[in-house]
């Protein structure tokens, strides 16, 4: 085992540290799920977020349903506020998961294997949180089924020319494809848990969902093709979803919304916020479960670089919006942007700029990118900033209507605030359940990229580390 080491022509960076063998990966990742005693921090966190998700969120939605959307701080010019802000915020966060699982897969970024499972799970939970808000903001919620093209005796169909309907299709397709992609990736790992399960219940539950997977190469062949194609079609899908979301705004004639830069600007912002959220939840999980050898500092570093790149794009978009407003010579357009930076919502605008443009600049420095706690702190700023970005886009564009007589100001009520807090709790609670009951690292994928495996051929029998046996 320790004798000759094969030197490959091109040394690949080590993606799994600590000289691990493939059995160790199974042991570490399954060990988290199989541990008999649940950690205390998990119990406390799950209780708090569970109460938030079940009690706070549902009570607020119940109050909203029984009373009406007036319980939110909405008023006449500001008819969209926290509801749609939260929707865009959550849906944007989801994008990082699909980017990691699909786009980085197509680009052969092999480091993605350690983080794709949890990032995809995060996508699902974020999309669930996002789905709540359009559903509950419609006012007459019992007519929410009008969103779907359901045949009815009334003969009324939705308007396929409306970007709001495109959004229904884009988001529901996105949610469905994300679930499929996630589940397909999970099957071999569920089989691992099934084969290791000691209790009857676990064996049954994991076995049921593993669908009888046995790692046959005749299966892997089709499996890899399905995975590749899912990645291929998720790539344009993830770029389209936030583009379509941005069209909810961009196709209207409201200054501040009516901008052709919106689709790419929203997509960059989505990836920016999503990567920040991935790091926000993965850094604590990595420390608490001792996964430093699998989710290495290199992963954190790479993700910080993505945040830096997309943060610069977002900063560019902020600047370009102002330039376009100025250069267009349109009085209404210039007013909206002057009002954003210096009007009643200047505090929100400058919070956004500070968090989204200045914060990522720290990631130019390797020392900061490799300090997980600093990265975590900066990512929280980015999360806050990206929430404010959506708030600024939506509320500042609405609160100064064309007629000064209908100008207004939006202040959230406690129902607004608690509904959002409830959705955060739901998101965190689902993630906590996920890391306790499902493998949070894609074991079969990590094993496939371990050093040496790709160098093997039949004439030189090597173990997975590329060493001679």
């Amino acid at each position: 085992m320790t004798t000759a080491t094969i030197q490959p022509d091109l040394q690949r960076p080590q993606l799994v540290l600590g000289n691990k063998r493939i059995g160790d990966v199974t042991e570490i990742v399954s060990g988290i799920v199989e541990k008999k005693t649940t950690p205390l921090w998990w119990k406390i966190a799950a209780t708090i977020t569970g109460l938030g998700a079940v009690v706070v969120l549902n009570l607020n939605i119940f109050y909203l349903f029984t009373t009406g959307v007036g319980v939110w701080g909405l008023n006449h010019p500001v008819m969209w506020a926290w509801d749609i802000t939260n929707f865009v915020f959550w849906i944007g966060i989801g994008h990082a998961g699909t980017l990691i699982s699909a786009i980085l897969f197509l680009m052969r970024q092999r480091w993605r294997t350690s983080i794709n499972r949890s990032a995809e799970a995060m996508t699902l939970f974020a999309v669930m949180c996002a789905g709540i808000f359009p559903g509950i903001h419609v006012g007459r919620w019992w007519m929410a089924w009008f969103l779907a093209p359901a045949p009815s005796q009334w003969g009324v169909w939705p308007n396929f020319h409306s970007p709001l309907l495109w959004d229904v299709f884009a988001v529901s397709t996105y949610a469905t494809v994300s679930v499929l992609f996630w589940y397909v990736g999970l099957i071999p790992d569920l089989a691992t848990l099934r084969d290791r399960a000691t209790g009857k219940l676990k064996q049954f539950a994991y076995g049921l969902f593993a669908l009888g997977w046995r790692g046959s190469n005749r299966h892997w062949r089709n499996y890899e093709m399905a995975y590749l194609v899912l990645a291929g079609i998720s790539t344009p899908l993830v770029l389209s979803v936030h583009s379509v979301v941005s069209m909810d705004f961009a196709t209207s004639v409201l200054p501040g919304w009516h901008a052709t830069i919106f689709p790419p600007y929203f997509v960059a912002g989505a990836i920016f916020s999503g990567f920040a959220m991935v790091l926000t939840i993965l850094i604590p999980a990595r420390q608490l479960f001792g996964l430093q050898d699998l989710i290495t500092i290199k992963h954190v570093d790479n993700m910080a670089k993505v945040i830096l790149a997309t943060g610069c794009m977002v900063g560019y978009a902020y600047g370009m919006e102002f330039f376009t407003a100025f250069y267009s010579g349109n009085a209404f357009e210039s007013f909206v942007f002057r009002n954003r930076a210096m009007g009643p919502y200047a505090w929100a605008y400058w919070t956004m700029v500070t968090c989204n443009v200045i914060t990522p600049q720290f990631f130019w420095f390797k020392k900061i990118r490799q300090n997980v706690w600093l990265v975590l702190a900066l990512c929280i700023f980015v999360n806050v900033g990206m929430w404010f970005e959506r708030f600024v886009i939506i509320v500042t564009s609405l609160h100064r209507d064309f007629l000064p007589s209908s100008w207004g100001y939006f202040t959230p009520t406690w129902v607004d605030i608690l509904t959002f807090v409830g959705s955060i709790c739901l998101f965190l609670h689902l993630f906590l359940l996920f890391i306790r009951f499902l493998p949070m690292i894609a074991m079969s994928e990590v094993k496939g990229i371990m050093q040496g495996h790709s160098l093997m051929n039949a004439d030189q029998p090597l173990d997975v580390h590329g060493r001679k046996e």
Binding site: W157, P188, T192, G212, R214, P236, D459, P461, D463
Partner: protein, 186 residues
């Protein structure tokens, strides 16, 4: 249960096949290549992750799944076109002076449904080609096989293979460097 009796007493029926364990993906790859060369057709290999080059070693062509997905994508596209033109015809909605049958606004939903149907085709097609879900399989019975989803590498040759013989096939597998060869019951 009948399965316990069949393993303890001498099996009357023919066994399902032989299960050979190898200790590395490299050894498995070589074994698959040799098994294919020796003329076996009803054989399969099992590994905790897809071993690259195994398809060629086993003499397998490209997966047929792409055609199923293409069919799904086309079905999704046609569904979207059909749905939107039907709605425009069944419920002509006058708004903003836009033409009823303009194709431009329809592109988004066409794209979404194409992706949606193609994804379902990819997943369902993959299960269909793989014959999954299948909760019982002879390989899943022996406890040693649990390693196939952990760090074990296995090769099976089925008894229905024309070249199969209980003695020579076992010798053949041992020659290939199998660390352990077991008989699998149906």
């Amino acid at each position: 249960m009948s399965e316990t009796t069949s393993t303890t007493s001498a099996p009357s029926a023919a066994p399902w096949g032989l299960l050979a364990q190898f200790d590395s993906p490299g050894a498995l790859l070589r074994a698959a290549r040799e098994t294919c060369k020796a003329g076996y057709t009803c054989f399969d290999v099992y590994s905790p992750f897809p071993v690259h080059g195994m398809d060629q070693a086993m003499g397998l062509g490209r997966s047929k799944l792409g055609w199923i997905i293409a069919g799904g994508a086309l079905a999704g596209f046609l569904t979207a076109v059909g749905l939107q033109y039907f709605v425009a015809w069944d419920y002509p909605l006058v708004h903003q002076g836009k033409p009823f049958y303009a194709w431009q606004p329809y592109t988004i939903v066409c794209f979404e449904l194409t992706v949606l149907f193609a994804s379902f085709a990819a997943v369902i097609g993959m299960f269909f080609l793989n014959g999954l879900p299948l909760w019982y399989h002879p390989t899943l019975k022996p406890t040693s096989f649990a390693k196939a989803t952990d760090n074990g590498f296995f090769l099976t040759i089925e008894s229905r293979d024309q070249k199969y013989s209980p003695t020579t096939t076992r010798e053949f597998l041992e020659q290939l460097g199998a660390v352990k060869v077991e008989t699998l019951e149906e």
